[in-house]
């Protein structure tokens, strides 16, 4: 079972670092490339939400990303020590209506929910923890 972790400050400039991290995990775990984009998207949307809702004053929160391959699924966890914020409470966009006026966060989280099998939020101590999972075909392809 593969697991990788990294920690970055909560700023937009870190996005390419995280993308690279995800790609490294993907190739280390020999996962099919077809599923990678769902996770790239999920990671970007959640991370940028954290960046934009981060501490309005003072020090940048730190964001910890963990990727685990377990039971045929990739589990992505984004944890930050910023102020309490549950992105899952953002109102979902009305996909039939005019999207321009909607806050950016809404569409991002909506996409994450659509692309992932499951998403959940947890306040753990002084941290926000957002976890999402999606089945990928890796382990079956590797065994025997």
């Amino acid at each position: 079972m593969n697991e990788m972790r990294t920690s970055v400050p909560s700023e937009a400039a870190q996005l390419p670092v995280l993308t690279h991290f995800l790609q490294e995990f993907w190739s280390a775990a020999s996962l099919p490339p077809a599923q990678l984009m769902s996770f790239e998207l999920a990671l970007e949307e959640i991370f940028m939400n954290v960046v934009m809702h981060g501490s309005p004053s003072g020090a940048l929160p730190r964001v910890e990303i963990s990727l685990v391959l377990a039971g045929g699924a990739v589990i992505l966890t984004v944890e930050d020590n910023g102020p309490e914020f549950d992105p899952l409470t953002l109102p979902p966009p009305d996909v039939n209506a005019n999207l321009v006026d909607r806050p950016i966060g809404g569409l991002g989280v909506f996409l994450v929910r659509e692309m992932m099998d499951a998403v959940s939020y947890h306040r753990v101590g002084s941290c926000n923890q957002l976890r999402m999972s999606k089945h990928v075909e890796g382990p079956e392809a590797r065994a025997g």
Partner: protein, 118 residues
């Protein structure tokens, strides 16, 4: 992200290459805005050829929608073509596929006469 422009019989062709993520969105928005503004030179409108667009996130989607809106307001034809399958999936999920004109490939996009958007 690299963006090149071509002109084909009155249509401006915009060709983005790479990933349209949060970091690339502002520049993309600027370029699309410029292209729409300069549309007098290409009255048949603007087509974005997405053959080389590998990735799009909500930030990128927002730019596309803003562009579609301002094109409609200015009475300029605006369409996309040749979306990669995974990018197409994201467009469809968000409902954007319904909101703007999307063609299968460049040839079709260019062949279509500029149509007024709904």
């Amino acid at each position: 992200m690299k963006i090149t422009f071509e002109t084909h019989a009155g249509t401006t062709l915009m060709i983005p290459e790479g990933r349209l993520d949060f970091g690339a969105a502002p520049e993309f928005q600027r370029q699309i805005g410029k292209a729409l503004a300069g549309v007098q030179a290409a009255p048949a409108g603007l087509v974005v050829d997405c053959t080389a667009l590998d990735y799009v996130s909500s930030a990128g989607l927002r730019v596309f929608l803003l562009a579609a809106q301002s094109a409609r307001r200015a009475g300029v034809a605006f369409a996309l073509c040749a979306l990669q399958p995974r990018v197409r999936e994201v467009f469809d999920l968000s409902g954007f596929g319904r909101m703007m004109t999307v063609h299968a490939d460049r040839a079709t996009a260019l062949a279509q006469a500029p149509e007024p958007l709904p």
